[in-house]
């Protein structure tokens, strides 16, 4: 079956739609993650989502929600999202109120979440079928995105894109110089907490699709590539979204054509773009120098 034919299949259309929504969210969010040196935050929150998914799977398996008719309630995501949100707010609180740095705070939440995830998944009876394997969770399963998954991703994307575009100027100002922004009345603490909360929810819903291990790369690589080429934050933002979208489409197409896992293909496509951007930026720098 050719790629064009495959695009007529419902599961492929859902995969493309989910991938594009995640690309736009990750591309926008990634700009602030990279510029605020929070790359580790992506990994930390993705692993917090793993803990949340473990807790969600355990709750669903042990409370009879699996038998309920409501599709969303049968998905551990409805527990993973608030769990990740709490982890994101917790990291922001530790960062703000203790002498610990971001990476230390993230490291603590990272380890605790993984431990909880492993614990909860280990005590779920083996005969319970949640429709979600541990491997899917770790490495992503974009081709098995369901219609309810897509609705959840769409709802989160609308809120996240609205927040990030509406507060772009204030977030960018506080990212450039927090003190200068606060002196001009920008509520930078509130914005930072909102950014962490937004990242937590985006990462939680996206990690089901691209996998928790690859989610951090999704947040960082397109934005980092864009940074290498951009001369302004607006350029960086637009490029980051464009590169995330392109790498998703290209990665999905390649994974279909050569029959390899889609999550890793997307991330490797992003990595190839990063290498290209690095080479181009060096060439431009030499050109400017000469």
């Amino acid at each position: 079956m050719s790629l064009a034919d495959a695009l007529h299949l419902a599961f492929m259309q859902r995969a493309v739609a989910a991938g594009l929504l995640i690309a736009v969210m990750a591309g926008l969010l990634g700009v602030f993650v990279v510029q605020r040196r929070l790359s580790f935050l992506g990994a930390g929150l993705a692993h917090a989502a793993f803990g949340g998914m473990g807790l969600g799977a355990f709750v669903i398996a042990s409370t009879g929600l699996l038998a309920s008719g409501v599709g969303l309630l049968r998905h551990p995501l409805w527990i993973a999202v608030p769990f990740s949100l709490l982890a994101g707010l917790g990291i922001a609180w530790v960062r703000e109120n203790t002498a610990l740095s971001s990476d230390t705070a993230i490291g603590v939440f990272f380890a605790v979440s993984v431990a909880l995830g492993v614990l909860f998944f280990s005590i779920i009876p083996p005969d319970v079928n949640l429709g979600l394997s541990l491997m899917d969770l770790l490495f992503g399963s974009i081709l098995s995105v369901t219609r309810p998954d897509l609705w959840v991703i769409l709802a989160v994307a609308v809120v996240a894109v609205a927040f990030l575009t509406a507060s772009w100027g204030a977030l960018a100002y506080a990212t450039f110089d927090d003190e200068l922004a606060r002196s001009d009345g920008v509520p930078s603490r509130l914005l930072e907490v909102s950014l962490f909360a937004c990242a937590a929810v985006v990462i939680a819903v996206s990690s089901v699709v691209v996998g928790i291990i690859l989610m951090a790369a999704y947040l960082v690589i397109p934005a980092a590539s864009a940074r290498l080429l951009a001369r302004s934050l607006l350029q960086m933002t637009v490029l980051s979204v464009v590169l995330a979208v392109l790498s998703t489409l290209l990665g999905l197409a390649l994974s279909y054509l050569i029959d390899v896992p889609s999550g890793s293909t997307i991330v490797l496509t992003q990595a190839a773009m990063f290498v290209l951007a690095a080479a181009l930026s060096r060439r431009w720098a030499r050109g400017a120098g000469g």
Binding site: G169, E179, S183, D184, G185, L233
Partner: protein
């Protein structure tokens, strides 16, 4: 460029020669009588506040130089018994003074004296645990658009992709501009031109020298025509020529607009030559008045300590 450099060095040499001849930092013009400066607390040269009601609550005795008569309206900066504690450390204690419109205030003191903390209080970034602070007669933070703040250069992120014109437009919008409009760009260019930095328009901030960055930040502060310019160690990391130009620009802006300038500095010579009011700070106020009144050995010794003030005087 060569002529400007030569002029700047001549000016510096003249300042040093004058300072040596007049022994400016070892004599105090008001040793016999307590200094009462610009409406602030009357302070003796040994750093003791005079308990005669002439403190922060007392009458503002002197107008800014060149502005005869008592100024109308509230002081631009009003600090009343301000106390700040960060953790267990007392950073500011019972700090009180008033600065009238049109003053050029220099805030001097040793490292860790609380100078930058005082600026943060004035900007509304830090709420004092004791006392209160007001700008233009209103609570601090009420009118950020009236303040042009030039922070220490070390605070900004050099990996941030930004051009000088975007930095200046951020001063107009009080947000980071996605795309400056034609009108904003025009205002930004005029501000860059006023500080002699129009050629920096499209330059990346990360590639600017300390002096060029300082000009871009100054253009950003002045583009909104502030009534108060607050500078935190503006001469740090810039060469002498850039420093000379900076003070020159500030004086010209102040002369043209009647704005108040408040500047944290380590440079006592700059305070002597450019400020008309000096606040000597080391956790509390050790002197507040005209440079003649407070840049004297007793005040500086009280603030800098027995050994420190010799280094301070040596500039």
């Amino acid at each position: 460029m060569g002529r400007r450099l030569a002029g700047a060095w001549q000016a510096r040499a003249a300042r040093v020669e004058w300072a040596i001849n007049e022994n400016v930092f070892s004599l105090c013009s008001s040793v016999a009588a307590p200094a009462r400066a610009c409406g602030g607390p009357a302070v003796t040269p040994d750093g003791r506040a005079v308990p005669n009601g002439a403190g922060a609550d007392g009458p503002r005795a002197a107008a800014a130089p060149g502005r005869p008569g008592a100024p109308a309206g509230p002081p631009t900066i009003h600090m009343h018994h301000v106390g700040v504690r960060l953790g267990d450390a007392v950073v500011l204690e019972d700090v009180g003074f008033d600065v009238e419109a049109g003053c050029f205030l220099a805030i001097v003191g040793p490292n860790g004296a609380g100078k930058s903390t005082l600026v943060k209080v004035a900007l509304g970034l830090l709420t004092p645990q004791r006392g209160h602070a007001a700008l233009f007669g209103e609570m601090v933070g009420a009118h950020p658009e009236r303040i042009g703040y030039v922070p220490q250069l070390k605070t900004f992120d050099r990996t941030f992709p930004a051009t000088a014109v975007e930095l200046v437009v951020s001063g107009l919008r009080r947000r980071w501009p996605a795309r400056p409009s034609a009108g904003e760009r025009e205002l930004a260019l005029a501000a860059l031109s006023r500080v002699g930095a129009e050629r920096l328009e499209r330059r990346q901030l990360a590639r600017l020298s300390g002096g060029e960055l300082q000009r871009a930040y100054l253009a950003r502060a002045l583009v909104r025509r502030p009534q108060l310019v607050l500078l935190d160690e503006p001469a740090t990391g810039v060469d002498y020529l850039a420093e000379h130009d900076l003070y020159d620009l500030l004086e010209r802006y102040q002369g043209g607009t009647g704005a108040t300038v408040a500047m944290v500095t380590h440079d006592l010579a700059a305070a002597r030559f450019h400020a008309d009011r000096v606040l000597v700070l080391n956790r509390r106020v050790h002197g507040f008045g005209t440079p003649d009144e407070v840049l004297c050995e007793p005040c500086l010794q009280a603030a800098f300590g027995h050994h420190g003030h010799h280094h301070a005087l040596a500039f």
